[in-house]
């Protein structure tokens, strides 16, 4: 009671009809901010939003869909202009998105899509993961050369984006193998790397026990690729086994420069962050924009790394 009355006094002390220069707030809740990829997207969202006169409210659900749902409620309470979402779970986040829809707050997704039924997502910006997977396949062919070899794939089936990467990779490898009798590239195992160092390490260590003639690893992101490297280094086979990663995070890029990883198809989180805000601005102005924008991945190898000013 006392709180209410105190706040009442405080509230009414302010004059009515005061105008502020701020146009509104754009909210961002990614999978997790511990992954630099989402932090870079967030930083570019903040910068682009500021350029357009908007504040940013960036929260970290830490991969927990319950926390992310709660954050949606908090966003609705603070009356944000738009919400940018990377779903922690593409189905369970549905009711929270619906709540925002009911309030008329537009919801955009970046990187990963929301697959719940009956939700309204007004725009998406993502990486063309299938094309990125094809790049990874081409890099693998280059890494193994004419002799071909045995490949381990570290996947993460829970994320649709990672499933697409593996599909693109396999398409190129199959095309390469078609009509060949020698020098085929054979996928001998597909294990769960969970997109993380720990599982990437464990799965690779297990695969090395089962296949002592392994020639290469394709990991669907940098943390699992680096976990794979640890296992390979432990087995003292780092000179024979080539690794292709994905993402192009800073430690992944450094590993490419150091020769630990052969190459990465890299995503462009900076472009994604800017693009999503530009789409929001177009939405708010009632203009046309690309509802499902895909940003192509590009290949990052040792030569690119040697010229990268961000690396030591």
């Amino acid at each position: 009671m006392a709180v209410l009355s105190l706040a009442l006094v405080g509230g009414s002390a302010f004059a009515e009809n005061e105008t502020t220069t701020k146009k509104g707030t754009i909210a961002y809740t990614p999978l997790t901010l511990s992954n630099p990829f989402f932090k870079i997207i967030g930083d570019h969202i903040t910068a682009e939003a500021a350029k357009n006169g908007y504040d940013t409210l960036m929260l970290d659900p830490d991969m927990d869909v319950k926390k992310q749902s709660d954050q949606f409620d908090d966003f609705i309470s603070s009356g944000v202009t738009a919400i940018i979402l990377v779903p922690c779970d593409r189905l369970s986040i549905g009711p929270a998105v619906k709540a925002a829809n009911a309030e008329g707050i537009p919801v955009f997704t970046v990187d990963a899509k929301c697959a719940a039924e009956g939700v309204e997502i007004v725009g998406h910006v993502g990486t063309d993961n299938f094309q990125g997977g094809e790049l990874a396949g081409q890099a693998m062919i280059k890494a193994l050369g004419e002799s071909g070899g045995k490949v381990l794939v570290l996947d993460f089936k829970k994320a649709h984006s990672c499933v697409l990467r593996v599909a693109g990779f396999k398409k190129v490898i199959e095309a390469h193998n078609a009509g060949r009798t020698t020098g085929k590239i054979e996928i001998v195992a597909e294990l769960n790397g969970n997109g993380a160092r720990t599982e990437g390490y464990q799965s690779t260590a297990d695969a090395l026990q089962a296949h002592d003639d392994l020639d290469a690893v394709f990991a669907i992101n940098d943390p699992s690729a680096l976990g794979a490297y640890t296992a390979i280094e432990e087995a003292k086979r780092q000179d024979q086994i080539k690794i292709i990663g994905f993402d192009g995070q800073l430690d992944g890029k450094q590993a490419i420069k150091d020769g630990k990883i052969f190459a990465d198809p890299i995503q462009h989180p900076d472009k994604m962050g800017r693009q999503i805000v530009q789409n929001i601005m177009k939405y708010l102005a009632g203009e046309e924009y690309e509802k499902d924008a895909l940003i192509p991945a590009t290949l990052y190898d040792k030569a690119t790394a040697d010229n990268d000013p961000d690396l030591k």
Partner: protein, 448 residues
């Protein structure tokens, strides 16, 4: 002059004071301009427009879809007609719809005098009207009207207060059982895993009973299954603690790992969607006076638990067991049964929490409830229950849960960075324990 025992006041009202200060603080920092969308605001806006515009002038109404958008637009339309203005169009929609409406209006070449809007569409018009009227000159003179704004903290908006209560309801309900366990000087680490276990069992039972199109009865039966099975797990824990004398910490640690693993195995590692939106009733529904159902349930359970702990013999037994189990046994308290009771009750409540959590997302998720046991324990400790046993109050726990919820919500509203949120949580728990120690030492301050 009368002596007041401040040390006695402090533990009783100390946590309430902390809560009060938090609320004041968060209200101050979330003070924002609010724009009303009530029928009254529409009436005032129409009057203001009638005063400034010539009678019979052309106006249009633009509001954003969702929330009160449709009702506000209808109220504006009605009031504008009443004050003698001509409403050419009423559009409730997204910015693209507003643009279309303005262009359409511009093409009629009837001079537009005013646009009645809510806050969102006013922003749209202020940003885009000049540009549009370059090609459609009949819009050039149109003035944009929006309701007079006022200042009020986002934190104290009714929706946000309900939002906080809804968010804490699962932790709060489990904290009832946890308070009793901690009063008996025990602990239960398994409750977070039981949330997932119960949610998965519930979703699977519903699917098993009703297939792809479960009826209402199946939802109830499935939920009951989830709650009861967790009750059985609690009974089992109670057995481990009393019959075999396994320390509660170890017994419940074992249950914690096993229940989590089983949840993943039963669910085949995938969240199980319940194919009937009615399942969201408990977690998302608002049936009585606009209060969330989960909050009503929470309040009822707290009222029952308060009576149980203060007015019944089982309540006295629970305190007695925690205070001194040997003395309790000698004075005829059935110590083992009391322990079995509190662990079973906590199992049931964790099961209920799991059903609520699953209901919120209309999904049984094996990942749910991760680390919730620590939030529950933190809330109980912050609420003034001593880990040494024998002391504690159910209502104190309610305040503890609210404090945790308010901090979380307040930091989210103000956009405090995640790692800093962790630091603050930790600090609050430490302060609470410090208060607990001071209380135990019985520091007394007296007024001269």
């Amino acid at each position: 002059m009368k002596n007041i025992d401040y040390a006695k006041l402090f533990p009783d009202y100390g946590t309430l004071l902390v809560l009060l200060l938090l609320c004041i603080g968060f209200s101050a920092v979330t003070l924002e301009e609010q724009s009303p969308t009530t029928a009254n605001a529409a009436k005032r806006l129409a009057k203001r427009m009638a005063n400034e515009l010539a009678p019979g002038s052309n106006v249009i109404v633009l509001t954003r879809q969702g929330g009160d958008g449709a009702s506000f637009a209808a109220a504006l339309k009605e009031n504008l007609a009443k004050v003698g203005l001509t409403v050419a169009q009423t559009v409730v929609g997204q910015p693209a719809d507003a643009r279309k409406a303005l262009v359409k209006q511009g093409e009629t070449e009837n001079v537009l005098a005013g646009i009645a809007t809510d806050k969102h569409m006013a922003n749209f018009c202020n940003a885009n009207l000049t540009k549009i009227s370059e090609t459609h000159p009949s819009l050039a003179k149109a003035k944009v009207y929006q309701p007079q704004s006022y200042h009020w903290p986002n934190f104290l908006k009714k929706d946000n207060v309900l939002n906080i209560m809804k968010q804490i309801s699962v932790v709060a309900i489990i904290a009832i059982g946890m308070t009793m366990i901690i009063i008996t000087a025990g602990i239960d680490l398994s409750v977070g895993s039981l949330i997932a276990f119960s949610g998965v069992i519930t979703a699977l039972a519903i699917r098993g009973l009703g297939g792809d199109d479960p009826a209402l009865g199946h939802l109830w039966l499935g939920s009951l299954a989830g709650v009861l099975i967790c009750g059985l797990v609690g009974l089992f824990t109670g057995g481990l603690v009393t019959l075999f004398g396994i320390p509660a910490f170890i017994a419940t640690l074992g249950i914690m790992f096993s229940a989590r693993g089983l949840a993943f195995i039963f669910a085949e590692s995938e969240p199980i969607v319940v194919q009937n939106e009615a399942f969201g009733w408990l977690g998302r529904g608002r049936d009585i006076l606009g209060l969330p159902n989960s909050v009503i349930l929470m309040l009822i359970l707290f009222a029952i638990a308060h009576v149980l702990m203060t007015r019944t013999s089982i309540g006295r037994y629970i305190y007695a067991v925690g205070g001194n189990p040997e003395a309790a046994r000698l004075s005829g308290v059935p110590v083992k049964w009391v322990l079995v009771f509190v662990y079973t009750l906590t199992g049931l409540l964790a099961g209920l929490g799991g059903v609520m959590e699953a209901s919120l997302h209309v999904t049984g998720d094996p990942k749910a409830g991760n680390l919730v046991e620590l939030q529950v324990i933190a809330a109980v400790v912050v609420g003034g229950t001593s880990l040494a046993g024998g002391q504690g109050k159910i209502l104190g726990t309610l305040i503890g849960v609210i404090i945790i919820g308010v901090i979380r919500n307040g930091m989210n509203l103000t956009g405090v960075e995640a790692h800093m949120q962790s630091v603050v949580y930790g600090a609050v728990i430490l302060i609470a324990v410090l208060v607990d120690r001071l209380k135990a030492k019985g520091i007394r301050l007296r007024k001269h």
